[in-house]
Each structure stands twice: as C-alpha cells, then as structure tokens.
C-alpha cells in the first residue's frame, strides 16, 4: 500500500512565537517517516476572533485552506495547533450537516469547497497512525530525571462530538506517548483546565491567575516539567511565567516543553535542532541529563540486581535467626 500523504498546516503562531513547535514536529515527522506536504499559500484559519463575528465567515476563512488542500488531491490535513484544528473541524462539521450553511460559506469563497478534507491533530496522527510501538522503537535516549505533567489544553479533545479523538475528560494519548519515551508521567488533574486562552493581551491578570492554577496543580502532582500540545497554552505558561509570579506572588520556574521537542530529545536530536533555545524557562538541563537507552537499560538492570542481592542478604539473615 502506498504511504499515506498528509497535508501539514503550519498555522500562524508556528511561524512566530511557537516556531519551535513547528521545527520539532518536522523533525519528529521525518524521523518516523511521515509523508507530509504543505498547502501552498495557506492563510489564517480565523481562530477565536473569527467565530466571535459570525459562523459562516469563520468557516469561510478555514475552508479557504481546506479547499486548497482538496485541490491538491489530499483528504487529511494535520495541524499542531488545537485552535486551527477546531476551526477546520467546526467548518467541516457545519458544512457537511447543513446544506444552506455550506452554500453560504461557498458564496464567500473564490474556490468552492466540497467537504472532502478531514482535520486531525498531529498528536492523533502520531498516536493512531504511527502508533506507540513505532515511537518506542525509535527511542535512543532516556531522560531519567524528568517527571512530566501532560497538559492537553481545552480544545484538543473537546467537544467530543466534533473532536472525535481520545477522552474528553481524561485524555491519555499524550500520556502514553510520553511513557513510550521512557519518561515518568505524573497523575495530573488539570490536563484540560483552561489556561486563559486568547485573553492574554486584553485580560492579562485573569489569564495569569488561571495559568497559575494549572502550574500549581502540576507541581502538586510532583512534576518538574509541563508537556504541552498547544502553542497558546505554551505561551501563557512559559512566556508569561514571570508575569504569573508577579501577579500572583508565586515563585514558579518550571519548563513548559512541546511534546514533540520531548520526542525529539528521546530520538537523540540536539536541543538546537528542536528549538529548545526558544523556551523562556530553560529546559536545557533535561537535554544534558539524557543517557543512551543502552546505558539506561544497564542502569535499570544493575538496580534490579542490587535489589535482589539485598533481598537475598535479608533472607539469609532472618533465616539464620529462625534456625540458630
């Protein structure tokens, strides 16, 4: 069977403040042999601001891109950004289920869109199409010191009727990917709690307070790193972390890293190749503390043997006491 080719929609923030998410995703896609191509001359999906104006208008901004992809002969578009993902999925859902809505959208477009393109998050492609086994097989390095809080953000899996992926209350796809990299995952209760979303500029204090709750919960869970899948969550938690400390009196200094950067580190790529230098709160120490998988396995084996030996000694000691 021919290899599946995906349209890869980068999205605006991945050209700017989230450039490292794009960079690391391409590295991971290449490492796992995913065939992807960018739609030519893509435009903004409309994001949150468009759906506060009008739903037909918002769908048209998204559908311009879907129409370009349809004309390329592709039927799946993958995107890293949950906001782009939802813009595409909602446009598709409304156009497929409502003929009048579809007509209205197409009246705003130069090229009509015939509803032949389905959007999937890059997380979903990696989890379902590539699979945990292939990911685990590609691992060359382990970060033994990391305790990760997997933070999905609010709209990667919700609303379930439209997202059609993972669990809407307790998603596990990213947890399992992180585990497949040999990294410890914390039991994190705020996987989906809102960080404050797109209100950072007009309502900074509110966003800082909401983000604080997320970071505090991660630290309570024992995490020393927050792993994210959304560029806006990343920005609110990382770029604004000093603001959070100033606004709320907290004293956080916790790295907020994209799950793709983490995959890249586990696959043996350099921090530079993964844009680790773009993070405001440094995660460099995790890159430095990496050990090879071989070394890790030997270490684990040695630990196991030590445990066994201790047990043996204890057994002998208590045995001697029982039978003097």
């Amino acid at each position: 069977m021919a290899k599946k080719r995906y349209a890869y929609y980068q999205g605006c923030s991945l050209e700017g403040t989230a450039v490292e998410y794009d960079k690391s995703m391409r590295v991971v896609f290449d490492a796992l042999g995913i065939d992807y191509v960018e739609p030519e001359d893509w435009s903004c999906c409309g994001s949150t601001p468009a759906h506060t104006v009008d739903h037909v208008f918002a769908a048209a901004l998204a559908a311009r891109n879907l129409s370009i992809i349809e004309n390329m002969g592709l039927d799946v578009v993958t995107t890293n950004c949950p906001s782009c993902l939802m813009a595409f999925k909602k446009a598709q859902y409304s156009m497929e289920n409502d003929e009048t809505f579809k007509e209205k959208v197409n009246e705003l477009l130069d090229e009509k869109y015939n509803c032949g393109v389905y959007a999937k998050s890059s997380l979903q492609i990696l989890y379902e199409d590539v699979g945990l086994e292939a990911i685990s097989n590609r691992v060359t390095h382990i970060i033994p010191d990391m305790k990760a809080a997997p933070y999905y953000g609010c709209i990667m899996n919700r609303p379930p009727k439209i997202a059609q992926f993972d669990d809407p209350e307790n998603p596990i796809s990213m947890d399992r990917i992180i585990s497949a990299l040999g990294i410890e995952v914390c039991d994190f209760a705020f996987k989906l709690e809102c960080c404050g979303a797109a209100f950072g500029v007009p309502k900074r204090k509110m966003v800082n307070e909401l983000s604080k709750k997320v970071i505090a919960m991660a630290e309570d869970a024992g995490a020393n790193c927050i792993v994210v899948a959304c560029p806006l969550c990343q920005q609110n938690l990382d770029l604004r972390q000093e603001q959070i400390n100033q606004t709320t009196g907290s004293n956080f200094n916790i790295p907020v890293i994209y799950f793709t950067q983490l995959m890249g580190l586990a696959f043996g790529y350099t921090p530079k190749e993964l844009g680790l230098d773009k993070l405001i709160v440094s995660a460099d120490h995790f890159a430095r503390s990496r050990i090879t998988k071989q070394e890790y396995l030997e270490r684990e084996k040695a630990k196991e043997q030590e445990k066994k030996a201790k047990k043996e000694v204890k057994k002998q000691e208590t045995g001697e006491e029982e039978n003097p």
Partner: protein, 188 residues
Amino acid sequence: MDAINLTESIDWEFIEHVKEESGQDPALCYQCGNCTAGCPYSHYFDYPVSQIMRLLQAGQKDTILNSKAIWLCATCETCTTRCPCEIDVAHIMDVLRIIARRENRVSEKDIKLFYDSFLDSVKKFGRIYEVGTLMSYNLRSGHLFADSDLGPKVLAHNKIHFLPKKIKGSDKVAKIFDRFQETLKKHG
C-alpha cells in the same frame, strides 16, 4: 439576580432567534449547574453560565447582551462537554456574543478590540502578524504598554518577525471579508 416581571419582559423573538441561529433548544436546560461548576471563568463572570441559560429561557435580551460573561467566555467547551442534556452551551454563548456584536453592544471593549486587531491583520496580510496585531491593539485601546514586558523575552529568543509576511493570495482572503460585509448589508 433581581426579581423580574416575566409577563412584561419576556422577549419571545429573541429566544426564537437564538434557537434558530444556534440550532440549540435552551428549554432543555433544567438548571443543574454542571456548566457553572466546571467553567474556569465563573469567578470572573457577572452572570455564571447557568444563569445566562436561565436568563435566555426567560427571554431577558438586554441583561444577556449587556453582560460581561458572553465576552469573557473562552469557548473552552467544558460546559458543552458536561451538559447532561447535551446542549451545546459554548455554541449558545458564541451566538449571544455574535448578536451582541451585531447590535453594537460591547461590555468588554478591550476584548473586542483585540479580536478586531487580529482580524485586521488577517485581512491585510492573509496571516497573523503578531507584532503588528499587538501594536495595533495597544494604540487603539490606549493601553500603550500592554505586555511590553514580554518584548525583551521574545527578542532574546528570536521569536518574532519585525516585518509582516504577506501571502500571495491575501487579496482572496480580503475578498472573504468584503463579501461577508456585503451579505450583512444585504440582510440588514
């Protein structure tokens, strides 16, 4: 909430309008409060989301459209996910905000200004030009130094572009805006 004389103040037309535009039936809501309990913004809303639903059932158009809640909703979809009656509550909030915008009732001016600055960038360049969007917002809102503390951080990490990148089809994107404005004029 104040006492309301329902006989005099129910706006049936408004209820029908919201029903039609959202495709949702607010009458299904039995006020369990699950949406409000899960809403991360309840603390900031003037009317928690379950009260907005109740006000909608009672056709209280002015109170709803003048509320801060409809602008502070981030469409995080918690309410929609948890509603036992399967009402798409976040979609209703979105429709209410759209109606408020159309009627030029904006209780949270800064939020609307930010959205407008964002969309202006899309219309002009086809994509978001982050620096330009922030600068345009700061100028128009009068909050000249909003988030200026972040500047050195993004600069030090080389995360921003100082010049906008215009896509080839930016005129086609602008046409979507123009055609949409025309349909608004046509339908009053």
